[in-house]
């Protein structure tokens, strides 16, 4: 991911991949392009590093893959499993709570700035 703080990005690629695959079956290149487009390149994956996340998610049973030939090119397509859907739901809840907490801190900071 194009980010100077990899620790802060931990878990985000996984969340985004699961969310994208909830809507449609995709292969690696499509996933990277979709992430880049939807985040307006704020999250721009170092493109090759998406595959280890996909492999790990598949190993955990969150995704399943199949090789499919489209326009004469054979590619590995990934889809979300029921286990993956549960994991996405848990990650989404976690992320929403975290996002709310961060927003609250920003809100307090803004109020303090106004008071001054």
């Amino acid at each position: 991911m194009a980010n100077d703080n990899p620790g802060f990005m931990a878990g985000i690629p996984e969340l985004m991949i699961l969310r994208l695959l909830q809507d449609a079956e995709m292969y690696g290149y499509e996933i990277v392009q979709a992430i880049s487009a939807r985040t307006r390149a704020v999250v721009a994956p170092g493109e090759g590093v998406v595959y280890p996340v996909l492999h790990a998610l598949e190993k955990d049973g969150a995704l399943k893959s199949r090789r499919k030939t489209v326009n004469g090119r054979s590619r590995v397509y990934y889809t979300l499993t029921a286990k993956g859907a549960k994991r996405l739901s848990a990650l989404t809840d976690h992320w929403t709570a975290l996002n709310g907490a961060v927003q609250a801190v920003f809100g307090m900071a803004m109020q303090a700035a106004h008071a001054v």
């Binding site: 292969y27 690696g28 290149y29 990277v32 170092g46 493109e47 090759g48 590093v49 595959y51 280890p52 996340v53 492999h55 790990a56 190993k59 955990d60 090119r73 054979s74 590619r75 590995v76």
Partner: protein
């Protein structure tokens, strides 16, 4: 081969070969897509290739991303003592015994099989004896070869397969049998022996030729491994 450095780093890092193969294949496909896109954006062949490779990530980054996923490590890399030392004698004995028993019953029951199926009794017995000999001779060499292949695929230190093969030689299972006789009501028998035979007399070799041959054949993959290591060092 493209991404050969990445593949070697991953194999040496313990990533399972099937994940490495697929990763390399996916990277190649991805690079192809990226290059095509750069060409479509108006870059010439060379520039498109360079820009695409840069977008994909450098070899170190690509390898590290995979090494950061501990779940993708292979069993031989994770638990070499189990795969190369503890399991082989048990698996060899169990698989050898299961096959041997099946073949034994064909020979021992040749008369009964002949009564039901149009198969010659003597042919069934000859097949059974030959198959039992083959199991005795080949079980350990086959397992030794498997250990060497596993170690090579995973770029493991050669001490693991060598320890495994040494242990197999010390505990080579040797199965023996005697068919029963239908007409004299003699029961058949099966036997299992373990141990390394060190021949000090020629008669030892002739008496235990199956075991001797098995040892020699099992040492061949080990010798190949040592020779190849010296060759590539």
């Amino acid at each position: 081969m493209p991404f050969e450095t990445v593949a070697e780093t991953l194999l040496k890092g313990g990533v399972a070969p099937r994940h490495v193969r697929r990763y390399v294949r996916e990277l190649q496909d991805h690079l192809g897509d990226l290059t095509e896109r750069q060409r479509a954006a108006g870059y010439d062949e060379d520039d498109a290739a360079i820009r695409a490779r840069a977008r994909l990530g450098d070899d170190g980054e690509l390898a590290q991303a995979m090494l950061n996923q501990p779940g993708l490590r292979s069993w031989p890399a994770r638990l070499p003592w189990l795969v190369f030392v503890a399991l082989p004698p048990v698996v060899t004995a169990a698989a050898g015994l299961a096959l041997y028993v099946c073949v034994y019953f064909i020979g021992d029951g040749a008369a009964k099989i002949h009564a039901v199926l149009p198969l010659p009794e003597s042919g069934l017995i000859r097949f059974s004896v030959a198959a039992m000999t083959a199991i005795n001779v080949l079980a350990v060499p086959v397992m030794a070869t498997v250990l060497v292949i596993l170690a090579r695929r995973q770029r493991l230190k050669i001490r693991w397969p060598l320890i495994g093969i040494a242990l197999l030689l010390l505990a080579t299972p040797l199965l023996s049998s005697r068919f029963g006789h239908n007409y004299h009501d003699h029961k058949g028998s099966l036997g299992l022996h373990y141990g390394l035979v060190i021949p000090t007399r020629w008669s030892h070799v002739t008496d235990h030729w199956q075991l001797m041959l098995s040892h020699v054949l099992a040492l061949l993959p080990a010798a190949w491994l040592v020779f190849r290591r010296k060759d590539t060092a």
